[in-house]
């Protein structure tokens, strides 16, 4: 992991309230391991907002690192003001990666909800073959097209694009096999629904979870998620909690318990 003054290459709105930023960050890009990893960004040099904001990597292209972010508060609003040529202090790459998506016989289904789409898009690029389901509340929050022929399915709560319903509505209509592996990132209620679904049908699922982080590198011990019994991981003191920044953000769905 590195701390780097990355240079903004592009920063544009791609859907309602959702932005994509491309950064030139050769140090971080060269240390990148795979989809699932994230970077952590500072707003600026001031200490008004002192905590870095973790953002999943949406794409790595040579020395470029892309993130997709939703305007959520002061900090993300500040991100939208960044222009090409501006610098951003970033720390990364951080966290673990999705696994086994290109294993022999694997039939990956990728599920992204809301801004949780970023690592899913990154994973989609890395998959030799995959089905992808992307959920949003409404058509204006989508920036891809519904293309069932290409195995890309959109869902909207209000039916204004793709399938009316949520990502589970789409998932339930798919043919699953014993080789299916779900890969998901999105709001916690969505991840809980997928966890329950995977459990009920005995399907393997890897979930990328979000957590409030103070540092991203294991120092503050703030970003914990409860783990299921007996799952001792490398970066945590005992058996009850796991540090999302080091052990995660990607977990097998039977490893963790949502709060």
């Amino acid at each position: 992991m590195k701390i780097e003054q990355a240079i903004v290459l592009r920063n544009e709105q791609i859907a309602h309230g959702i932005w994509r930023m491309s950064l030139v960050a050769p140090d971080v890009a060269s240390a990148y391991v795979g989809p699932g990893q994230f970077i952590s960004l500072l707003t600026d040099d001031s200490w008004d907002h002192l905590v870095r904001r973790p953002m999943s990597i949406a794409k790595i292209n040579e020395d470029e690192v892309d993130i997709i972010y939703k305007i959520f508060g002061d900090v993300t609003d500040h991100f939208t003001k960044k222009c090409p040529g501006d610098s951003m202090n970033i720390l990364g790459p951080l966290g673990n990666v999705f696994t086994d998506y290109n294993s022999e016989f694997a039939e990956p289904i990728l599920i992204g909800g809301g801004v949780g789409l970023a690592p899913i898009l990154n994973l989609y690029d890395a998959c030799e073959k995959a089905v992808m389901i992307i959920g949003a509340r409404s058509a204006d929050e989508h920036f891809l097209n519904h293309k069932p022929d290409n195995s890309v399915y959109l869902t909207t709560d209000d039916g204004t694009a793709g399938i009316e319903g949520n990502v589970l509505t789409a998932l339930k209509n798919m043919n699953l096999s014993e080789n299916t592996i779900l890969f998901a990132c999105g709001p916690e209620p969505m991840l809980i629904a997928i966890q329950n679904y995977a459990d009920e049908y005995n399907i393997r699922a890897q979930l990328s979870v979000e957590s409030y982080m103070g540092c991203g590198v294991g120092l503050c011990q703030g970003c914990v998620i409860e783990r299921q019994n007996g799952q001792v991981m490398k970066h945590s003191y005992h058996e009850k909690y796991s540090l999302v920044c080091l052990d995660g953000p990607v977990y097998e769905c039977d490893e963790i318990i949502f709060g």
């Binding site: 905590v51 103070g214 590198v217 294991g218 011990q221 970003c223």
Partner: protein, 306 residues
């Protein structure tokens, strides 16, 4: 180049920039981001007799120019500290100060006795009598003069190493607790621990921290820390290690002027684990610019109006 070495009790440190307990893990993480050999001392995360899971999430939230944490003294326990970490510290160049937390005098003593019973190169102990986030965090000591003096005196019996009492700002009169520490035989006090704070999400109407209250840290508490250090400086003769919201060499100089002989960088490590080293370099430059050979003449030298 100025001589940055300082002496606390009988221990000499190569420079006065330490890293604070709970903000730097056990000093063995993140070698890619920080060269710990340049740090004056590492105060390791609070250790209790038994391992602790810590509090449920959410444990962290950002606040204006600061953050609130309520980790709940998650730690590996003293046995693992001895078996896994002390051997690593043997081969590190950086002095290690072990922070101990407990819920009774016996617990503090048991932890210290276990460490004293084995050979190690740790240079001292910082006694956490001020964790605001758990019942077992020692706060009952940190707000009570008699208890503070008793605890300090008891611990003094078990070690010749540095004994530093870490003071809470969440008291009516911090100088009284500092005096009790001095009377009990402490070599130094460190001040301040975090300030009790709360954060609420007006949209969800929920507390942002599981334990409702947590410890506020970061630049937001720098004025509180400065005032506490200055008051304590005027009340006791033992050295003060300043803590509270320092992010730059300028902040460090202010803490020295208020009365600190050394400082601990805390929350700033979360943003950049290598920041202590940068602050040290800037402090060196400052002393050179000021033609000062050491920080000694600056300690407590703030010019006040009254």
């Amino acid at each position: 180049m100025a001589d940055l070495s300082i002496k606390i009790g009988h221990t000499t440190f190569k420079n006065p920039i330490f890293v604070a307990s709970g903000t730097f893990g056990y000093g063995t993480d993140n070698p890619e981001l920080v060269d710990v050999s340049n740090i004056g001392a590492i105060v390791t995360k609070s250790i209790t007799l038994n391992p602790r899971e810590g509090n449920p999430p959410p444990r962290i939230v950002e606040t204006p120019s600061g953050m609130i944490n309520s980790i709940g003294l998650a730690n590996i326990g003293v046995e693992k500290y001895i078996s896994e970490l002390l051997p690593i510290y043997e081969v590190m160049d950086t002095p290690i100060i072990m922070n101990i937390a407990g819920s009774s005098i016996t617990e503090y003593i048991d932890v210290m006795k276990k460490v004293e019973a084995v050979s190690s190169n740790i240079v001292g102990y910082e006694i956490n009598i001020s964790c605001p986030n758990v019942k077992e965090g020692g706060m009952e000591f940190g707000v009570d003069c008699e208890m503070t003096e008793k605890l300090t005196r008891e611990l003094r019996n078990f070690t010749d190493r540095l004994l530093i009492m870490k003071l809470s700002p969440n008291v009516t009169d911090i100088t009284a607790i500092a005096k009790s520490s001095e009377n009990g035989g402490a070599d130094a006090v460190s001040a301040i621990n975090t300030v009790v704070g709360m954060s609420i999400d007006h949209k969800t109407k929920k507390s942002n921290i599981y334990t409702t209250y947590g410890g506020l840290s970061g630049p937001a508490i720098k004025p509180v820390g400065l005032a506490c250090v200055h008051k304590v400086f005027n009340a006791v003769k033992i050295p003060i290690i300043g803590i509270g919201g320092m992010v730059s060499s300028h902040d460090v100089i202010e803490y020295i002027l208020a009365g600190s002989c050394a400082v601990q960088i805390g929350t700033a490590n979360y943003r950049d684990p290598g920041i202590a080293e940068k602050i040290l370099n800037d402090l060196n430059d400052y002393l050179d610019e000021q033609n000062l050979n050491s920080i000694t003449s600056l300690i407590g030298a703030v010019k006040t109006y009254v």
